[in-house]
């Protein structure tokens, strides 16, 4: 072959192709070199990439690939063996590295893929948490709103304010367009629009209560979405073509006071509901969310409770007003009654006087007339006049007394009095009358009967006189026994009378009086009527005896006032009858000390400074003390006589002596015996002088023995002028004086 030295440009027809290949290889190499650089740059920038070793491998692979392509540039022309060698080396290396990388990627790619999956998972989780967070926030907001609303609602007890506040707060919280409350009317057939948020004075829209939409709302305790076109939701004429917002309605239970059950919230027991309607703003595309509905339900319940509290308050206010009115009315009625009683009493008092005066004149003059010379017919006439007027006088007295007794305005005059002397006086009064009718009267006083008692002496005597008088009146012959004793507790317990409840106590005793006569007796059938006013036995025998029929009624009243009981027993007509009564009297020394005028309690207004001419008898065997006492009394102006022995005393004592002072602790003279003798000598109380014992002994026994024998007072020696002065004052005023010991 010819060695052609012609370097012919080897640019055949595929020279263009060669050129393009040349350029492509160049760019590929460029790219292949720049990619790892970029990779390294960005990996250096990020801190997290975990596969650096892989990157290096990859980089190497790419670099070698690039080198290969680069070296390819020289192989288009004739190239030396070195280039071929370098090419080969490069290719070999590239093959090794790429195979290694391929093998490595088998491990790596699943890892990379799973990273992606985890990332996706985490993103989902984050989204979910975000959602839940949103939910919690809204719930918390709702809770806050509810609390605030509740606080607002419950801060007042006024019904109107509660409802108004509810609407306002709800409107604000939920950004409502309109909020309305429909209340049931009295007839419970219609719902009436009572409150709205934006209209100040809602005109009385009413809606029948039995609409289906309303029933739907009332039947569940949830907030229910209703159509904006339902009658309860159409509150004002809608202008324009706005899309009305969603409407929700909820029932508000109206609880009655009696509906409060602790366990079951009154689903079943309440019948009345109000309707609350809430409207979202129109054109807002807002929707009712669950939490908003829950809020509305909770608020409705709270409103129910607040309303019931308001109702309770109203109720109690009304009850209080009613009570006040009733109080005023009662007060007025009482005052009227009091005025009436006052008027009646005034009338009685006047009539008392007016009626009695002429009566007295008649009686007095008739008795005077009786004393003059009269013909037998005249005498008969005068006697009849006298008898009739006496009867009339008694009747007037009885009627006046009874009317006072009836209305309870009669009060007993409680004082200490001598019980024995009351009976003795009655006995003395009755004896002459009884002896005229040839009746014998026996008085039997029990030994343990207290001498002194506390009670109303006048009324007791009136009662005894009446009872004994009846016995005498209705007996034509025979005898009358009067027995007086203290009723013992055993016998008291047997009493089961309807209105008699004896109570034992240390301060009181029950006096029992029994009057038995052998007279005409009483028919057992008439016994219950005896004590009624104006009822009389109509039998002929009693017709003539007179009597107005009031006596026993009055006695019964008196006995009742003295917390006692009166009753009559009789076997029948002609068999006599027994009248019994029990009255409660007080013990004089054991009862309230303050009832007795004690010496230390000197009532200054009543103390006389001098007792001029007061006749006093002093008995004392000790000459010195006798003269001292005499001097004392004379200093006070008294007219004093002194004696030193019992006989002298009995000789000297007379009705003129008003007070007797005797020394009772003198041996040899029995002062007590003397007192008893004095009592026998002067049976009438107003004739007897006041008996006072002077003693140097301070003990209860002395005091008791003095009281027992009927002394009116006991004083401790020595006596000062002041003491004597007040003693005499007390004695002359009250006739009783027991010094505190």
């Amino acid at each position: 072959m010819e060695a052609c030295n012609c370097i012919e440009p080897q640019w055949p027809a595929d020279e263009l192709l060669m050129k393009y290949q040349y350029i492509s290889d160049f760019f590929i190499a460029l790219a292949y070199f720049s990619i790892p650089l970029e990779l390294i740059y960005f990996v250096k920038k990020s801190a997290v990439f975990p596969y650096r070793w892989v990157l290096v491998q990859f980089g190497a692979f790419i670099v070698l690939c690039g080198a290969t392509h680069l070296i390819n540039l020289w192989t288009f022309n004739m190239h030396s063996r070195t280039v071929a060698l370098v090419m080969t080396t490069a290719k070999v290396l590239t093959a090794v590295v790429s195979c290694a990388t391929a093998l490595m990627l088998v491990h790596i790619i699943p890892d990379l893929l799973s990273v992606k999956t985890r990332e996706l998972f985490l993103k989902n989780k984050a989204a979910e948490l975000d959602r839940e967070m949103g939910l919690i926030r809204t719930q918390e907001e709702t809770g806050r709103h509810v609390r605030m609303l509740t606080h607002e609602i419950r801060s007042t007890l006024d019904r109107h304010t509660i409802l108004k506040t509810t609407l306002v707060e709800l409107g604000r919280t939920l950004a409502l367009e309109e909020c309305a409350l429909w209340m049931p009317t009295r007839t419970a057939l219609e719902l009436q629009l009572s409150y709205t948020l934006h209209q100040q004075n809602p005109v009385g829209h009413t809606v029948p209560i039995h609409l289906p939409v309303i029933n739907q709302v009332f039947s569940s305790n949830h907030a229910v979405k209703i159509s904006p076109n339902s009658p309860v939701a159409r509150l004002r004429p809608r202008a324009g073509k706005h899309m009305p917002g969603e409407v929700v309605a909820v029932r508000v239970p109206l609880l009655h006071l009696s509906n409060f059950q602790i366990n079951d919230w009154p689903e079943l027991s309440t019948k009345r509901y109000a309707l609350m309607v809430l409207m979202l703003p129109s054109d807002s595309a807002r929707q009712w969310h669950m939490h908003e509905l829950e809020l509305v339900e909770v608020v409705a319940d709270q409103v129910a409770v607040a309303l019931s509290h308001a109702a309770i308050l109203e109720e109690s206010r009304r009850a209080r007003d009613l009570l006040m009115e009733q109080n005023i009315a009662l007060d007025l009625a009482r005052r009227e009654a009091e005025t009436a009683i006052c008027a009646r009493n005034d009338f009685l008092a006047v009539m008392n006087h007016e009626m009695r005066t002429p009566m007295h004149a008649i009686i007095a003059l008739s008795s005077l007339l009786q004393e003059t010379e009269l013909t037998p017919e005249q005498r008969l006439m005068v006697e009849t006049i006298l008898k009739s007027s006496n009867l009339l006088a008694t009747l007037i007295n009885d009627v006046l007394d009874l009317s006072r007794l009836e209305d309870g305005s009669l009060q007993l005059d409680i004082a200490t009095f001598n019980l024995h002397s009351v009976f003795i006086e009655v006995h003395n009064l009755i004896k002459p009358i009884a002896s005229v009718k040839k009746l014998s009267v026996t008085l039997n006083l029990a030994a343990d009967l207290p001498v002194y008692a506390i009670g109303d002496e006048k009324r007791l005597m009136q009662t005894i006189l009446n009872v004994v008088g009846n016995a005498v009146k209705f007996s034509k012959e025979g005898s009358i026994w009067i027995t007086v004793f203290v009723a013992k507790s055993e016998s008291l317990r047997d009493f089961h009378a309807a209105d008699f409840f004896p109570v034992q106590s240390d301060n009181h005793f029950y006096l029992r009086v029994q009057v038995k006569d052998s007279g005409s007796g009483i028919n057992p059938q008439d016994l219950p009527k005896l004590f009624t006013k104006f009822a009389q036995n109509q039998s002929l025998a009693t017709r003539n005896s007179g009597g107005s029929g009031l006596g026993l009624a009055i006695c019964k009243r008196f006995v009742n006032l003295m917390e006692g009981h009166i009753w009559i027993e009789s076997e029948g007509l002609g068999k006599g009858c027994t009248a019994n009564f029990i009255v409660k009297l007080g013990y004089p020394e054991r009862s309230n000390e303050s009832k007795l005028p004690f010496l230390p309690k000197m009532r200054a207004t009543h103390v006389q400074t001098n007792f001029p001419g007061l006749k006093v008898l002093v008995m004392d065997d000790n000459g010195v003390s006798r003269s001292v006492t005499k001097g004392l009394l004379e200093h006070l102006g008294c007219d004093v006589t002194t004696v030193s022995s019992t006989d002298e005393f009995l000789q000297v004592i007379s009705q003129e002596h008003k007070v007797v002072f005797m020394d009772v602790c003198v041996p040899g003279i029995d002062g007590y015996e003397l007192a008893v003798q004095i009592h026998e000598k002067f049976t009438k109380r107003h004739e007897r002088p006041v008996l006072v014992a002077l003693t140097g002994n301070i003990n209860k026994m002395t005091k008791e023995s003095c009281m027992r024998v009927g002394m009116d007072g006991v004083i401790l020696k020595p006596v000062s002028v002041e003491k004597m002065r007040s003693v005499l004052s007390e004695l002359l005023e009250h006739r009783v004086l027991f010094e505190a010991m």
Binding site: D621, N622, G623, V624, S625, S627, V628, G631, L632, E634, H635, P667, G668, G696, K717, P718, S720, V721
Partner: protein, 154 residues
């Protein structure tokens, strides 16, 4: 001595009697009872007391000397003596009677004799003092003055 001085002396003397316990409030009462209608009331009562007491003391002495002592009678006498002494306000005499009564009830002769001695002592003492007092009063009255009123607070 002029009246004022005598009166002061009288007051002091009386006060001393009270302070010593020989007299008590009852004596004051007696003095209060003395007025124009009864000018010698105190003297009269006290004289009566002296006579009574002499008699009583004699009786008691004689009764105690008897072979068989009648304690009841002595008791009665002592009771009388107590009564009169308390009526005039002779405090110590009255207090002396109390144990005497007890001894009488116990029938204790020694006790009674001792009490009698003491009683006699007290009695003569108070008698003496009162006689002096009355003498002073007479002097004052003779000199033209009047007996001052005693205001004693115990």
């Amino acid at each position: 001595m002029e009246v004022g001085q005598m009166q002061r002396q009288w007051v002091d003397y009386t006060k001393s009697l009270f302070l010593e316990g020989l007299l008590d409030g009852q004596f004051l009462q007696l003095q209060q009872l003395q007025d124009e209608s009864n000018p010698d009331f105190v003297v009269e009562v006290v004289s009566l007391f002296f006579d009574d007491s002499e008699k009583l003391l004699n009786d008691i002495t004689r009764a105690l000397e008897q072979p068989s002592v009648d304690f009841k009678k002595i008791g009665a006498h002592v009771h009388q003596f107590k009564g009169s002494s308390s009526s005039v306000g002779a405090q110590r005499v009255k207090n002396g009677c109390i144990p005497f009564r007890n001894f009488c009830e116990e029938q204790n002769i020694e006790g009674c004799i001792r009490c009698l001695q003491q009683l006699k002592q007290e009695y003569y003492l108070v008698k003496n003092k009162l006689e002096t007092l009355f003498a002073m009063e007479q002097q004052i009255v003779a000199a033209g003055g009047s007996i001052p009123m005693l205001e004693l607070s115990f």
